[in-house]
């Protein structure tokens, strides 16, 4: 149990199995008010699964998940709108909560897409759609914001700007943010804590600590941490193809 009022979500030893195979296991993390936690990891490493565990979308999980807020916003990795459903940005903004026109406009303005308010969602480009998704999530003024690859399809300059915006939002709304990304470089400046995932937590800590970590380098290659001073430490295990840990003979 935790008594810290700043803790929004606490998950301990969480994991999920599907047909006998672990999608992700032994995940421990806490999300605090006003802080950004970033999950990084290669494809299939369980990033989205972990986000869904945090959101309570998986029912049969191992371990323990405690959530201390109900004001949650979610930007899923993929939202596809069926042609049969005509829906404008305006309709999408009030999907889960009624908002004042001013609140809608402000949020769209923040992500730079207020001019698209009466456009149909299906007519937006990938980058525009991501900005609308983000605007909808922040317009609700959530206490916990879960963003699954929120800047996919956004151009590089926009990407940097949006990460800056996410940082600003966490301060302004004092909300906890769980951010999923596969690229540590860009998110670095906007992150307080990094969890590096590959079926389980490989390493975690501040962005600098993680970039120096041996396991991070194993996963992402030497180049990705080149900019940082190199820090070596003993590693006592290797990974099999499905992410299991095998102790190395010492």
């Amino acid at each position: 149990m935790t008594n810290n009022p700043n803790v929004l979500v606490k998950i301990s030893n969480a994991g999920i199995q599907k047909s006998g195979k672990w999608l992700v296991k032994d995940v421990n993390l806490e999300i605090h008010r006003g802080k950004i936690v970033t999950i990084i990891g290669p494809n299939g490493s369980g990033k989205s699964t972990t986000a869904k565990i945090v959101l309570g979308l998986h029912k049969k999980i191992e371990g323990n998940v405690q959530t201390f807020t109900k004001k949650i916003s979610y930007v899923p990795q993929k939202v596809s709108i069926d042609w049969t459903l005509p829906i404008r940005v305006l309709d999408f903004m009030v999907l889960t909560e009624d908002l004042k026109p001013q609140e809608i406009n402000d949020a769209l303005n923040l992500t730079g897409v207020d001019h698209l308010i009466s456009r149909n969602l299906r007519d937006l480009s990938g980058g525009e759609f991501q900005r609308v998704l983000l605007a909808r999530a922040i317009a609700k003024k959530p206490e916990l914001l879960v963003l699954d690859e929120p800047v996919q399809g956004v151009d590089f300059a926009g990407e940097v700007a949006l990460y800056g915006l996410i940082k600003k939002i966490s301060e302004k709304l004092n909300c906890g943010i769980l951010l999923i990304s596969h690229d540590l470089h860009v998110v670095m400046s906007a992150t307080d804590y990094v969890v590096c995932l590959n079926g389980h937590v490989c390493c975690s800590g501040t962005p600098v600590d993680v970039a120096r970590d041996k396991h991070y380098k194993e996963l992402f290659g030497e180049k990705s941490s080149q900019l940082l001073s190199i820090y070596e430490h003993d590693h006592d295990h290797v990974h099999t193809a499905d992410g299991d840990i095998v102790k190395e003979n010492v």
Binding site: K52, G56, L57, P76, D82, T84, L85, P86, I87, N120
Partner: protein, 265 residues
Amino acid sequence: MFDDFLFRALIAGIGIALVTGPLGCFVVWRRLSFFGDTLAHSALLGVLLSVAFDLNISLTIFTVSSLIALLLLRLQKTTNLPSDALLGLLSHSSLAVGMVILGFLSFIRFDIMGVLFGDILSVNVNDLLAIWIGGAIILLVLWFIWKPLFASTVNYELAEAEGMNPERVNAIFTILLAALIAISIKMVGLLLITGMLIIPTTMARNLSNNPKQMVILSIIGGLLSVFIGLYTSFEINTSSGPTIVVVALILFILSLIGIKKRNYG
């Protein structure tokens, strides 16, 4: 005034069109048209049970269709068969079981064509009450679950993550569909009720650019189909259920002109 069969038919038709409009939108958005068919086919079983045991027809259909719907939800969880196979299984078995039971009931005079295609002109005052009271309850419930139902239609996990309960509203919606089928079988028949749900709605999709507009247009489409269809069937002496659906089809074809203009002009 309620003595006039044509007037009763009109009142019944208006009541049903008001409900099929909004429900039909969700059926199309959620890709449930085959599901609607399955519920409608299972209604034959309900009709026969009500005849055999002298039960209230609407309540029996409602019960049987709801049970089939819940059975489907259960099967979806416990088997690995895809939904369309499960729907086909339930749809055709309930139709077949219904027809076999009908064989046992040979001592009862039974108008099978009326059940399949509807007999709007036989609608009595009790049916009108069932349609309007049942319809009002359906619309009221839909009003209350509109937001979570719509949100989970757009994105199930997003709705669930943000504190809505998609599983519950989906189950409620299913029961609303069963209720609609129960009150409208007599009028449009079990083979055509999905047509009333789908056709005015697809017409509305061609002409609208937001969800509310689509709901309103599909209600208008349904009402027009009822007005024109009833009048025509009376004038040229065709059966009214199919005529209403044919009018809806013509309206749909006309709406294609609208969509062409929008896309190219």
